[in-house]
Amino acid sequence: MTTDLHQEHIDNSAKALIKADNLIAGYFPGVPILNGSDLYANEGELIGIIGPNGAGKSTLLKALFGLVKVWSGEVTLRGENITNMRADELVTRSIGFVPQNNNVFPSLTIEENLEMGCYQDPSKFVDSFERVSSLFPALKDRRKQKAGSLSGGERQMVAMGRALMMNPSVILLDEPSAGLSPALQDEVFIRVKDINKTGVTVIIVEQNAARCLQIVDRGYVLDQGQNAYTGTGRSLANDPKVIELYLGTLAKS
């Protein structure tokens, strides 16, 4: 079954904007966390990755983004091999990343956090700041506040805003709704959809699988470092196996 999925991946991913083939990666030698993961995203697509805790979802994003060493396999962006490239070089190639935890600089102000977002091209700051603050109006009034004093939801906005400052063509989001109230979670999903509508390709990892599958174009179900299922958001959300194993009661209710 895994080999079928791999074949399907190879068949469909030829024109992908960003693509990972057969990634094996981990933190300690001899303990792989990713056991041959495949993933691709076409220009303008919204891709979701779901799966149980510890499946390797965050590790997959970090491997795409040069923060975890890839032992074998290949990551390409528009056909260029970017495997194990330094994260800041990937930012130059217009990829943005919002990690799951510790995703703001606590001792910097909101404004300074956003400035760091366009570190490589400070001339973009004024325009980008306007654009980002129209997405997250709350940030504008509090620009002088230290990010370390913000709530979880506010931090999430700062983190997403920062990743958008360079106008990336792909953005990787790791559980942007984690720890937020249901109302705020909805807000985040709407924002993510908005970001995607501006033409940015989005790859999002989500704990809230049912909600995630509603907004994505395609989804991946990751289990033990491998793809267990892939398909459109709708088809995954309605797949009885996926419901039983990964969506559980949440989806049925």
């Binding site: 040069g66 600089f105 910097l108 004093s149």
Partner: protein, 425 residues
């Protein structure tokens, strides 16, 4: 941001450095029983012959004179408590013995002791008057001046720790090598200090700072070497550099060609030499520029971002290694300035960095690890505390008070004076 493991690491480091300091601190002498030996020279380092020196207790009085090389050696008949005194009348006119004065109490337990009497321009009468009248203001001023110097070194130590996580035991040697670089240019090459100092700051920044990182620490980081292992490498490096300095420049303290001896100005009863005043002003200006740069420049902000979270900084597009490279260059520059300041105000010696290392660690811990102003506030506080501690502690023990301050801080306010506990979640 203060994490428990950082505090543990610092504490461990401090204990280790103290052990090193004690271990390496013992000296050697030609006498094999109780007795004293040493050397007396004028402030320019020229030996003084024929200076009368007396070693006495209730039963015995032993007298001697310094020889042509300025050396003296007096054997004591038995162990116990003695008074050593120098007859200031036998010094050349206009010279006197520097702090703590021409008379010392000394107790022999077993072996001999090496005594250092430093001479300075002035008359002993002034000196005693200043000392008696206004001891506390004098100590506070001395402490502030010392604290400013320490702040220069501690700032670099804190920035390097903040951005790389390295507890750098060889940071003291950055001071030593900066001071010796200036000494080489000034004393050996013969350059005027006004040229030698700026030149050695630049050389130190690149050679001892930038290059050290480029050819040692960066490859280790790239290999993923653990912080503990790196700390041990830094201890090894400290010893290597320290003893290389001893091998190259010798064991006796060196002075620069210029500004070695200066009469103190009397400002409201506080004695201060013009050179100390000028170095303090240079330190203040330098620290102000560095703080402004950290706060407002693009790289300064990136430095703070890397200190908060290197992975996130990289994910944001910051070239973290480049920032670290700036920090090491700056650290080398600041440490050299600190070393040269100590060299100008006192002397240049192979052990100067080792002695100051503990005080720098204490300053950084006291002020708050990783906070911008932490190193500065910590260093000034420690500088003053150390000087004031001489009111109650023997002068020999004054640096030890830094250790006590540090342990107290770690117990009662681990985030330091300025550090805030981070909000979690």
């Amino acid at each position: 941001m203060i994490r428990v493991f950082q505090i543990r690491r610092i504490l461990k480091s401090v204990l280790l450095s103290t052990i090193f300091a004690i271990y390496i601190g013992s000296g050697a002498s030609a006498l094999d029983g109780p007795g004293i030996s040493g050397k007396i020279s004028d402030p320019d380092g020229k030996p003084l012959a024929g200076v009368a020196i007396t070693l006495a207790n209730n039963e015995n009085t032993i007298q001697g004179l310094t020889d042509a090389t300025g050396a003296f050696e007096l054997a004591a008949p038995s162990a116990g408590k003695y008074t050593v005194s120098i007859d200031v009348a036998t010094l050349p006119a206009g010279l006197t013995i520097a702090e703590p004065g021409p008379e010392r109490e000394i107790t022999f337990v077993q072996g001999p002791k090496v005594l250092i009497f430093k001479t300075q321009v002035g008359t002993s009468a002034d000196q005693v008057a200043v000392k008696r009248d206004s001891k506390i203001p004098q100590l506070v001023v001395d402490g502030l001046l010392f604290g400013l110097t320490i702040a220069l070194g501690a700032m670099g130590l804190n920035l390097i720790f903040g951005t790389t996580g390295l507890t750098n035991f060889s940071h003291g040697e950055l001071l030593t090598y900066g001071a010796f670089t200036a000494w080489t240019l000034n004393y050996l090459v013969g350059l005027n200090m006004l040229i030698a100092v700026p030149l050695s700051l630049v050389i130190s920044a690149f050679l001892w700072g930038w290059a050290q990182n480029r050819y040692l620490w960066k490859p280790l980081r790239r290999r993923g070497t653990g912080l503990m292992a790196m700390m041990i490498v830094s201890i090894g490096l400290a010893l290597t550099l320290r003893y290389s300095a001893l091998a190259i420049f010798g064991g006796s303290p060196r002075n620069y060609n210029q500004y070695a001896a200066q009469a103190g100005l009397d400002i409201f009863g506080v004695a201060i030499t013009p050179k100390a005043l000028i170095m303090a002003i240079i330190a203040i200006i330098t620290l102000a520029i560095v703080l402004f740069w950290l706060k407002n420049s693009k790289i300064g902000k990136a430095t703070r971002a890397v200190r908060d979270n290197p992975d996130l900084a990289s994910a944001t597009g910051i070239n973290v290694e480049k920032v670290i490279s700036y920090v090491w260059t700056l650290g080398g520059f600041l440490a050299a300035l600190a070393g040269i300041t100590v060299g100008i105000n006192q002397d240049v010696s192979w052990r100067m960095g080792q002695i100051l290392l503990l005080i720098m660690f204490a300053s950084v811990t006291l002020g708050g690890l990783g906070t911008i102003y932490g190193a500065l506030v910590g260093a000034i506080t420690i500088g003053v505390l150390i000087q004031l501690s001489t009111l109650v502690l023997p002068t020999e023990l004054k640096t030890v008070s830094a250790l006590f301050v540090m342990i107290a801080i770690l117990l009662f306010r681990p985030q330091g004076i300025l550090g805030k506990r981070e909000r979690v979640g």
